[in-house]
C-alpha cells in the first residue's frame, strides 16, 4: 500500500503545475487544460482521503465531480470556440476588453 503522504504530495504537485500553467501560459486551450489538471489533482486527494477513511460517500462524490467537470468542459470549450471564431486568436492577453 502506498503511504497516503505520497499520493497527497503527488496531488499537490499536480495542483501546483496546474496553477503555474494558468499563470504563465498564454494559450487559452492550455490554460483550460491546466484548470482541468487542478481539478483532477483535487479529485485525487479527495479519493485518497475517501480510501483512507473507508468512506463510500467520498468515492461516490468523485463521480459526481467528474460528471460536472465534463459538463463544464463542454461549456468552456464551446466558449473558447466562439471566442476564436470572432477574434481569430487564442492569446489570452488579447482578451482584455472587460475592464473599467
Amino acid at each position: 500500500m502506498i503511504p497516503i503522504e505520497h499520493i497527497l504530495l503527488l496531488s499537490a504537485l499536480l495542483f501546483t503545475i496546474g496553477v503555474m500553467g494558468v499563470m504563465l501560459r498564454r494559450n487559452v486551450i492550455v490554460i483550460f487544460m491546466s484548470i482541468e489538471l487542478m481539478l483532477n489533482a483535487v479529485n485525487l486527494s479527495f479519493v485518497t482521503f475517501a480510501r483512507s477513511m473507508d468512506s463510500m460517500t467520498g468515492v461516490v462524490f468523485i463521480f459526481f465531480i467528474i460528471v460536472v467537470a465534463a459538463a463544464e468542459a463542454v461549456v468552456g470549450l464551446s466558449i473558447i470556440l466562439s471566442i476564436y471564431r470572432t477574434r481569430k486568436t487564442l492569446n489570452i492577453e488579447e482578451f482584455n476588453l472587460l475592464k473599467w
Binding site: 499563470m23 482578451f95 482584455n96 475592464k99
Partner: protein
C-alpha cells in the same frame, strides 16, 4: 333589511361603467347610465327616508365591514341614516338626479361627455359617503373625495388655462381646511378614544369641560375645515373661481351639495359645538361677515355665474350664522331650500349661457324674456325665493335664521343687523341679475341673437321641478307666529340637535316686526334694482361715477385675492426662493450630494487600474489572496 349600502353603490357603479366603458359604448350609453345611477340612488333614499321616519329613534344603522381594529379602537364601514343624513340624502340624490338630467342637454356635443358623467357620478358617491358615514374617518374619505371631484370638474375644460388655475386654487384652499379637520379628529381621538359621531355626541358633555380650551380648540379646528369646504372667510376665494367648471357642476357641487358639507359637519356635531361658546360666537361672526362681504361683491359683478357664486358664499354665510347662534335646525332648513333655489338659478343661468352661445357677461345679454320664457319664469321664481319674498321658500328659512340671530342667547341685534342688510343686498343683486339678463334692450350681438332659442326639454324639465320645489319647500318649516301649520322642521328634528344652555328670548310682536322689516327691505331693494337696471346699465352709470371708489372696491372683490397674494403668497415665494431653494437646497443638500459623489469618484479612480481586463492578472491576485488566507489560518 334597510340596505343603506345600495345608495352609494349605484353612483359608484355608474362611475365605473361610465369611466371604463363610456368611451367605447358612446354617448347614448352614458346618457342612459349617468342619470339612471343617481335616479336609483334617489329611489332607494326615499325608501330609507320613510323607513327612518317610522322606526323608533329615527336611526338606521348598517355595519358593512370592520376597517380598522386595533385594541379598543375600532373603525367600521358603517352607514347611518338619521334625521340629518336622511334629509341630506334626499337633497343630494334628488337635486343630483335633476342636474344629471339637465347635464344631458347642457353637455351635449362636448368632448369628454363620458368623462363628465363619470366624475359627476363619482362626486355623488363620495358625497353620499360623507353624509352616510358614522365616523370621522369615513366622513373624511367622502370629504376628500368630493374635494377631488370638485378639482376634476372645475378643471373639466382641460384646454383652458384659467380652469386649471381655478381647480388648483380650489384644491389648495381645501387642503388648508383639511388640515383643520384632521387635527381636530386627532384631538377628538385623544379626548374620547373613539371617532364615531354617536359616541362623541353622547359623551361630549361628560368628557369635556364647558367652554374649556380643549373643546374650543377642537371646534375651532373643525370650523377651519368647514370654512374651507363651505367657502367662508378666510378661505372663500376659491368658490367664485370654481365657476370655471361647467354650469351643472356649479349647480350641483358649488351650490347645492358639496359646499354644504361644512355645515353638515357642524350640524352633525352640534352637541360638541354648544360646549364651546367662544367657537359659536366665532362661527356666527364669520358667517355674518362672509354673508355681508360676499353680498357687497355680488352687487357689481357682471359675469352671471359670478353673481350667483358670490350669492352662494353669502347664503352659506347665512347658514353658518344660524349654526353659530345655535339654530342648527334653521341652518339645515336653509341648506335644503338653498339647494333648491340656488340649483335652479345656476341651471337657469346655464340655460341662458347656452342660449347666447357661451357668453357669461350680462353686459352682452338683456331682453331674453320672450325668447327664453321657461328659463325666465323659473329663474324669476328662484329669485323671489332667494330674496325672501313672503311665502316663497327662502322667506321662511331666511326669516327663521334672522329671528334666531336676534333672539337666541348666542345671538345679538348686531348679527341680526348684518343679516338684515345682507337680505336687502341679496334681493338687490338678484333682481339686478334678472333685469340685466331678461329685461331692457337686447345687448346680444346680432349674429348670436338670431339663434337664441329655448333650451331642450331635458334642461327645462329640471328647471320646472326645481322651481316648484323652490316655491313650496318653505312650508316644511313655517314659523310658529303664523299659526298656520306646525313647524315641520322642528317636529322633524325633534331632540336631534343639542339644546342651548339657556332658552332664547323675544316676543311674538318683535318677531312680526323684524319679519316685516326684512320683507319691506327686500321689496325696497327690488324696487331700486328695477329703477336702476330695467333698461341696462345707463341709469346705474351715474350712480357709479359718484361712488367710484366703492364700486371699484366691490368690483375687485375687496382686493382679497390681492391681499392674500401680498401677505401670504409673495412672502412664501420669497422665503422659498431665497432661503429654501438658494440657501438650503443649493448650498446644503446639493453640495452634500455632490461632495459624496466627488469622494466616490476619487476613490474609484485610484482603484481603477486594478481592473485591467487581463485574466491572468486576476488569477494572480486570486492566488495571492488564497496564500494570504492560508497563511492567516495556519
Amino acid at each position: 333589511m334597510s340596505q343603506i349600502w345600495l345608495v352609494p353603490a349605484f353612483p359608484l357603479l355608474g362611475f365605473i361603467l361610465n369611466a371604463f366603458f363610456g368611451k367605447r359604448f358612446g354617448t347614448r350609453f352614458v346618457t342612459f347610465i349617468g342619470p339612471l345611477a343617481v335616479g336609483l340612488a334617489f329611489a332607494q333614499s326615499l325608501v330609507l327616508f320613510f323607513q327612518m321616519l317610522e322606526i323608533k329613534g329615527n336611526v338606521l344603522n348598517e355595519h358593512l365591514y370592520t376597517w380598522i381594529s386595533s385594541g379598543n379602537f375600532e373603525v367600521g364601514i358603517n352607514f347611518t341614516v338619521d334625521q340629518l343624513s336622511g334629509l341630506y340624502l334626499l337633497v343630494i340624490t334628488g337635486v343630483g338626479f335633476l342636474i344629471h338630467v339637465y347635464s344631458v342637454g347642457y353637455m351635449k356635443g362636448e368632448s369628454g361627455y363620458y368623462r363628465f358623467f363619470a366624475y359627476l357620478n363619482l362626486f355623488v358617491f363620495f358625497m353620499l359617503l360623507l353624509v352616510l358615514g358614522d365616523s370621522f374617518l369615513l366622513m373624511f374619505v367622502g370629504w376628500e373625495g368630493v374635494g377631488l371631484c370638485s378639482y376634476l370638474l372645475i378643471g373639466y375644460y382641460i384646454e383652458k388655462d384659467s380652469a386649471a388655475e381655478a381647480a388648483k386654487k380650489a384644491f389648495l384652499f381645501n387642503r388648508i381646511g383639511d388640515f383643520g379637520v384632521l387635527s381636530a379628529v386627532m384631538l377628538i381621538f385623544l379626548a374620547f378614544g373613539s371617532i364615531e359621531f354617536a359616541s362623541v355626541n353622547a359623551e361630549a358633555a361628560a368628557r369635556l369641560e364647558y367652554g374649556g380650551p380643549l373643546v374650543t380648540a377642537i371646534t375651532l379646528l373643525l370650523f377651519l375645515g368647514a370654512t374651507g369646504k363651505s367657502a367662508q372667510i378666510p378661505l372663500f376665494v376659491w368658490l367664485p373661481d370654481a365657476m370655471e367648471g361647467p354650469t351643472p357642476v356649479s349647480a350641483l357641487i358649488h351650490a347645492a351639495t358639496m359646499v354644504t358639507a361644512g355645515l353638515y359637519m357642524v350640524a352633525r356635531l352640534s352637541h360638541l359645538f354648544v360646549l364651546a361658546p367662544f367657537t359659536m360666537n366665532v362661527i356666527a361672526a364669520v358667517g355674518a361677515i362672509t354673508a355681508l362681504l360676499a353680498a357687497t361683491i355680488a352687487v357689481t359683478q357682471t359675469d352671471i355665474k359670478r353673481v350667483l357664486a358670490y350669492s352662494t358664499v353669502s347664503q352659506l354665510g347665512y347658514m353658518f350664522l344660524a349654526m353659530g347662534v345655535g339654530a342648527f335646525g334653521a341652518g339645515v332648513f336653509h341648506v335644503m331650500t338653498h339647494a333648491f333655489f340656488k340649483a335652479l338659478l345656476f341651471l337657469g343661468s346655464g340655460s341662458v349661457i347656452l342660449a347666447v352661445h357661451h357668453e357669461q357677461d350680462m353686459r352682452k345679454m338683456g331682453a331674453l324674456k320672450n325668447k327664453l320664457p321657461i328659463t325666465y319664469i323659473t329663474m324669476l321664481l328662484g329669485t323671489l325665493a332667494i330674496s325672501g319674498i313672503p311665502f316663497f321658500s327662502g322667506f321662511f328659512s331666511k326669516d327663521e335664521i334672522l329671528w334666531k340671530a336676534f333672539s337666541s342667547p348666542f345671538g345679538s341685534p348686531w348679527l341680526w343687523g348684518v343679516g338684515f342688510i345682507t337680505a336687502g343686498l341679496t334681493a338687490f343683486y338678484m333682481f339686478r341679475m334678472i333685469y340685466l339678463t331678461f329685461h331692457g334692450e337686447s345687448r346680444v350681438d346680432s349674429h348670436t341673437a338670431e339663434h337664441v332659442r329655448e333650451s331642450p326639454f331635458s334642461m327645462t324639465l329640471p328647471l320646472m321641478i326645481l322651481a316648484v320645489l323652490a316655491v313650496i319647500s318653505g312650508f316644511f318649516g313655517v314659523p310658529h307666529v303664523f299659526h298656520l301649520l306646525p313647524n315641520g322642521m322642528e317636529v322633524y328634528f325633534h331632540n336631534f340637535f343639542a339644546k342651548l344652555p339657556v332658552e332664547g328670548h323675544g316676543s311674538v310682536s318683535t318677531e312680526w316686526l323684524l319679519m316685516g322689516l326684512s320683507v319691506a327691505f327686500a321689496l325696497i331693494a327690488w324696487f331700486i334694482a328695477s329703477r336702476l337696471y330695467h333698461s341696462g346699465f345707463a341709469v346705474a352709470a351715474g350712480l357709479r361715477r359718484r361712488w367710484e371708489w366703492a364700486y371699484q372696491l366691490s368690483l375687485n372683490k375687496w382686493y382679497v385675492d390681492e391681499i392674500y397674494n401680498a401677505v401670504i403668497i409673495q412672502p412664501v415665494r420669497f422665503l422659498s426662493t431665497h432661503l429654501l431653494w438658494r440657501l438650503f437646497d443649493q448650498n446644503i443638500i446639493d453640495r452634500g450630494v455632490n461632495t459624496t459623489a466627488i469622494v466616490a469618484r476619487a476613490v474609484g479612480s485610484t482603484l481603477r487600474p486594478l481592473q485591467n481586463g487581463l485574466t491572468q492578472n486576476y488569477a494572480l491576485i486570486f492566488i495571492l489572496g488564497t496564500f494570504l488566507i492560508l497563511w492567516y489560518v495556519t
